[in-house]
C-alpha cells in the first residue's frame, strides 16, 4: 500500500522586492505552508505568486525559461548562495526537498553594478551580451553542419572547448565573486572559441575586445578566490581563467592586433 503523502514544508520567505530600477527596494516576508518537497524552487515561487495574485498583490518578478537547467535565464541568491546550496545546478533544478520544515529562505537578486536590478529578482544582464558582441563569436560564416571529417579537431581540444562551451551565461559567477568579476564567464567564451580551428584566427582581437568591454561594463578583477567555480551550474573550471590571462598577455605582447 502506498504510504499517505507527508504534509509539506512550512516556510518563511524573505524576498527582495523592488518596483523598478531606480527604486531602493526592501525585503518582504511571506509565509508559505504545505509546500511539496517534490517542487522545484521556481515552482515554489509560482505557488507564492499565485497566492499573491489571489490576494490582489503584485507577484514577485523572477527570470526563468526552460526550467531544465540549460537556458541560463533563472538564477537568484538563495540564503546567500547563487542557485542555492547544491553544486552544479541552476535555481530551476534545485528542489524543495533540500529544505527543512520551518526554514527561513532569503532570496536576493544577483548584485553587481554591471547587473542592475530591473524589478524584484530580475537583473539586467545585457552587459554579458555586449561583451559577446566584442568578439565572442567567429566572423567567418561556417555554414551548416560540415562533413565531420573535413576539419579534424584533436579529441583533447574538443573536450576542452566543449567543457568551456557548457557556460550558459547565467551570471552566477559574477554574483558569487566578492569583486563581481565576470572573468569566469569571459574565460569560458574565450577558451571555448580559441581551442577550435574556426575560432583560432581571431583569438587576439577576441580576447582584447572582450576584456576591454568587461572592464568598461564595471565588472571587478579576479582575486582567484574560486567562488565563481563553486557557484557555476555548468561546472566551468577556474583553469579557464588562467587560459584567459594567458590569451590576454599573448595578445598584448605577441600579436599584431592594435
Amino acid at each position: 500500500m502506498i504510504a499517505p503523502a507527508k504534509s509539506g514544508l512550512n516556510l518563511t520567505l524573505k524576498v527582495w522586492r523592488q518596483s523598478n530600477r531606480e527604486a531602493s527596494g526592501e525585503f518582504k516576508t511571506y509565509e508559505l505552508s504545505n509546500i511539496s518537497t517534490d517542487m522545484s524552487f521556481l515552482e515554489m515561487l509560482d505557488v507564492l505568486n499565485q497566492q499573491l495574485i489571489s490576494r490582489g498583490e503584485e507577484p514577485v518578478a523572477f527570470d526563468h525559461d526552460c526550467r531544465e537547467g540549460i537556458c541560463g535565464m533563472c538564477g537568484v541568491m538563495i540564503n546567500g548562495q547563487p542557485h542555492g546550496p547544491d553544486r552544479n545546478v541552476t535555481t530551476c533544478q534545485l528542489h524543495m526537498r533540500r529544505f527543512r520544515d520551518g526554514d527561513t529562505i532569503v532570496i536576493e537578486p544577483w548584485r553587481a553594478e554591471a547587473f542592475p536590478v530591473l524589478r524584484d529578482l530580475v537583473v539586467d544582464r545585457t552587459s554579458f551580451d555586449r561583451i559577446i558582441q566584442q568578439g565572442g563569436f567567429v566572423s567567418v560564416n561556417t555554414g551548416s553542419a560540415p562533413e565531420a571529417n573535413s576539419l579534424p579537431v584533436p579529441r583533447v581540444k574538443q573536450e576542452r572547448a566543449m567543457d568551456a562551451a557548457a557556460c550558459i551565461g547565467c551570471g552566477a559567477c559574477v554574483a558569487a565573486c566578492k569583486n563581481a568579476s565576470a572573468m569566469l564567464f569571459v574565460s569560458a567564451k574565450v577558451s571555448h572559441l580559441s581551442h577550435l580551428p574556426q575560432g583560432g584566427g581571431e583569438r587576439a582581437s577576441r580576447v582584447l575586445g572582450m576584456i576591454g568591454q568587461m572592464d568598461r561594463e564595471g565588472f571587478g578583477a579576479c582575486t582567484n578566490t574560486g567562488e565563481c567555480e563553486a557557484a557555476c551550474p555548468a561546472n566551468i573550471s577556474l583553469w579557464n581563467i588562467a587560459v584567459l590571462n594567458r590569451e590576454y598577455i599573448r595578445a598584448s605582447l605577441a600579436s599584431n592586433v592594435q
Binding site: 546550496p85 568579476s181 571587478g220 581563467i241 590571462n245
Partner: protein, 257 residues
Amino acid sequence: METGSANPQSSLTNRLNLGWLGRMLSSSVGRKFVMGVTGLLLCGFLIGHLAGNLLLFGGPEAFDAYATWIHNQEFLPLIELGLLLLFLAHIYLAVVVTIENRAARSKRYAVKHSKQAGMPPLPPHNWMFVSGAIVLGFVLLHLADLRIGLRPDLAFPEWDEHHPRMYEMTVAVLSNPLSRVVYIIGTIFLGLHLSHGAASAFRSLGWDHPKYTPTIRLMSWLFAIVIGVGFCSLPILIPELAAVAPPEAKIVTPAEP
C-alpha cells in the same frame, strides 16, 4: 580648436606605438599580471632576506660578517631602488584594483555564504588588501628601526659603515617588548598574505595547468609557511638566545688587518 593642439604625451605614445602597453596596464587582467610579477619578484627578495636573517642564529660574528659583506656591495643602492619600485608598483595596483573591485558591487548582499567545501571562516583570499596593508605598516616600522635607525629609545651602537654592528641593533629592537609583538604580528600576516598570494600570482600570469598546478599549490603553501615561520622565529627566539649569550661578550674581535 582641439584638432590642432595634440597632447604631447599621447603623440609620444603614438610615435612609439605604445598604445598596447597603456591598454594592457589599464585593464583588469594586465594589472593583475603586473601585481603577480611584482609579487613574485618580492617573494624572491624574501628568500634572500630570510636566508641572511637566519644567520642571526649563528651569533654576532656570523651575522655581522654577512651584514658587513652586504653593506659593502656596490650594487646595493640599485637593489634597494629596484625593491622600492616593486613595492610601489605592487601597492599602487593593490589600491587601484581594490577601489575598482569595491565599486563593482556597491550594494552588498544581506546574506552571503561560500559554496566552496571546507572554506575556513575569514580565508586569507578575502582580505588580501588588509593583510597587505598590515605588512606594509610593519615594513615601514622595520625600515625605520633597522634601515634608518630611528629608535631614540634604544641604545644603538655607533654606526660604522665598514663594520655595522647589526646583530646588536637587531637584538636591541627585538628585545623591546612592543617591537617584539609588532614583529611577530607583522611576520604572521606576511605568511597569511603569501598563503594566497604566492599561488594566486601564478594564475594571474596564466600559469595554471594540470601538469604544474598541484606542484605550484604545494610549493606556494610550503613557501608561505617557511617564510612566515622563518621570519616569525626571529622575534620569538633571538632575544632569548641573546639573553643567554650577551652579544657584548662576543664582540671583541678587533678590526681585521
